[in-house]
């Protein structure tokens, strides 16, 4: 039980994919102008990251490892994730049109998101079991949702005319992300270890 809580806290706060690992920045910067679309994106990422970590775990441990093909993991993971997302998209379109509409454009956008790839590789690196992988994927997604939700709420407050011209748009978004990352450095490993004993 403690390991699962530990994994959740690690990937939501301490090793937040956006704010400490700087993975998955393109949807983070690109879709954080409005809170509504940012939240939609966040849920799509949670969904894809959990699915991807589950499936890549199976592929790695049941297919690559027994055949001694670990060196193919990057290539295989890219293929598997992209196919998986496309498949899921088609299934959702058939089964639940409202959900498809809600996730709509975001789902294909994150097929090759580096945060999704990152969690798949981290799961292998850290030797997580299948349930642990699922949890780390989910927590990674929740961490992404948290970061993009906060980011979008801050960005909605910007009134463009006040920001000096050279900083409007992307630059100010990156500076904001940098300052958020500075604050998130408060969550360190010592905090987790002391809290969980």
């Amino acid at each position: 039980m403690m390991t699962f809580i530990g994994i959740m806290l690690t990937y939501i706060f301490i090793e937040n994919f956006i704010l400490t690992k700087f993975l998955g920045l393109c949807p983070f910067i690109g879709v954080s102008k409005k809170v509504d679309s940012a939240v939609g994106m966040g849920f799509a990422v949670i969904f894809v990251m959990s699915m991807a970590s589950l499936v890549t775990w199976m592929v790695f441990h049941w297919l690559l490892e027994p055949n001694g093909l670990e060196f193919l993991q990057t290539v295989t993971f890219i293929l598997v994730i992209a196919t998986l997302v496309q498949l899921v998209e088609m299934i959702i379109q058939k089964i639940s049109p409202p959900l498809y509409k809600a996730l709509g454009i975001y789902l294909p956008l994150i097929t090759t998101n580096c945060a999704v790839m990152g969690i798949a590789l981290i799961n292998v690196q850290k030797n997580y079991g299948i349930i642990e992988s699922l949890f780390s994927g989910m927590a990674g997604g929740i961490g992404f949702l948290l970061a993009i939700f906060l980011m979008s709420s801050i960005r909605e407050k910007f009134e463009t005319e006040w920001i000096p011209k050279p900083f409007r748009g992307m630059p100010i978004a990156f500076i904001t992300a940098g300052l958020m990352a500075l604050a998130f450095m408060a969550f360190d490993k010592a905090l987790l270890n002391n809290l969980l004993g």
Binding site: S153, E159, I163, F167, I175, L179, A183, F184, L191, N194
Partner: protein
């Protein structure tokens, strides 16, 4: 325009004005911090005066250069740059090399404040961001403390701050009174709880700060300390040393002077209370369990991130608005 109306001054109400303005607020807060700063200089010697001066100087100079570069109206006289520089230096250890407070001030004014459009547009407290920036960039220098130069029985003091020593070890050598008047080691401006509280009392009287943030911040933090014992290992529930944790470290400076920053705190009183409780919780987690000796600055800038969200969810209902009733 008709010629005859030229001399008529037409303004909208209110016509009577008590004279408060941004610059007046900033200079009042600055004045309220001066006694605590003076105590810091008295306590740690003239090097800390030097730190304060270079920090304020760097902040003002950065403000001047940036307003010149952006061709904006010169804004030094509104006092916000002086206040930011002063707060940066208050958060520095007294024996720090001068380039660190200078760079922290430049970061605070140049990046945290002016890239967003200057005073009132920044979403993170500039002084605290400057401190945290320095903290992570020069961790060694930022956590090297020199002992106070005054006080009887100098052998009783070590360089370690009360928080680094922990409550029981500190109290075996010194008393709560030393903590209260500031006869301890620590950052330049945070040591004297007495003078900071006096300054804060004046701000209350002038209604520049309201009770919501300081009270909810300090109360939630101290309640958590009391419940969970206030040490990493936990010395048993409901035994935390409230007085020690209130007076030691930067809580008084943070809760009364920095969390209450008008620009980076919520607008409604409900929002302020939520914000204060959030600051208290995060400060508690970081100070007691985190890898850093102090959690006030990190706790506050983390809550700065949440301020737009808090404002969003505590938006007051327009007068006369009622919830839509569904027709059955």
């Amino acid at each position: 325009m008709m010629e005859g109306k030229k001399n008529l001054l037409m303004t909208s109400s209110p016509h009577l004005h008590e004279g408060s303005s941004t610059s007046r607020i900033m200079w009042t807060v600055t004045a309220c911090l001066v006694p605590a700063g003076a105590w810091g200089v008295y306590n740690f010697g003239l090097t800390s005066l030097w730190i304060i001066l270079v920090s304020v100087g760097a902040a003002v100079l950065t403000e001047w250069v940036i307003t010149k570069l952006l061709k904006k109206e010169q804004s030094i006289s509104d006092g916000s740059a002086v206040l930011t520089g002063l707060l940066v230096s208050f958060n520095m250890p007294p024996s720090i090399p001068a380039f660190i407070p200078i760079l922290a001030s430049v970061f605070a004014i140049g990046i945290v404040k002016h890239t967003f459009g200057g005073l009132g547009r920044n979403w993170m407290n500039p002084a605290l961001a400057g401190r945290v920036f320095a903290m992570f960039s020069w961790t060694g220098e930022m956590t090297t403390w020199s002992a106070p130069v005054i006080g009887a029985g100098a052998d009783a003091f070590t360089g370690a701050t009360p928080l680094a020593q922990g409550a029981s070890e500190f109290l075996s050598k010194q008393s709560y009174w030393d903590l209260f008047i500031g006869n301890i080691s620590g950052c330049i401006g945070e040591v004297s709880a007495l003078l900071l509280l006096l300054g804060a009392a004046y701000l209350f009287i002038r209604k520049i700060i309201t009770w919501q943030i300081p009270l909810s911040y300090a109360a939630s933090f101290l309640l958590l300390v009391w419940i969970f014992g206030g040490t990493v290992s936990g010395s048993g529930y409901f035994t935390g040393d409230i007085l020690f944790h209130f007076l030691a470290g930067g809580l008084v400076l943070g809760a009364f002077f920095m969390a209450t920053d008008m620009v980076t705190s919520p607008l409604t009183s409900k929002g302020m209370i939520i914000y204060g409780i959030g600051c208290g919780l995060l400060t508690f987690l970081i100070r007691i369990y985190g890898g850093f000796p102090e959690g006030v600055s990190l706790g506050i800038i983390l809550m700065n991130i949440f301020v737009p969200l808090i404002d969003r969810f505590t938006k007051p209902v327009k007068f006369g608005n009622v919830k839509e009733v569904k027709n059955v």
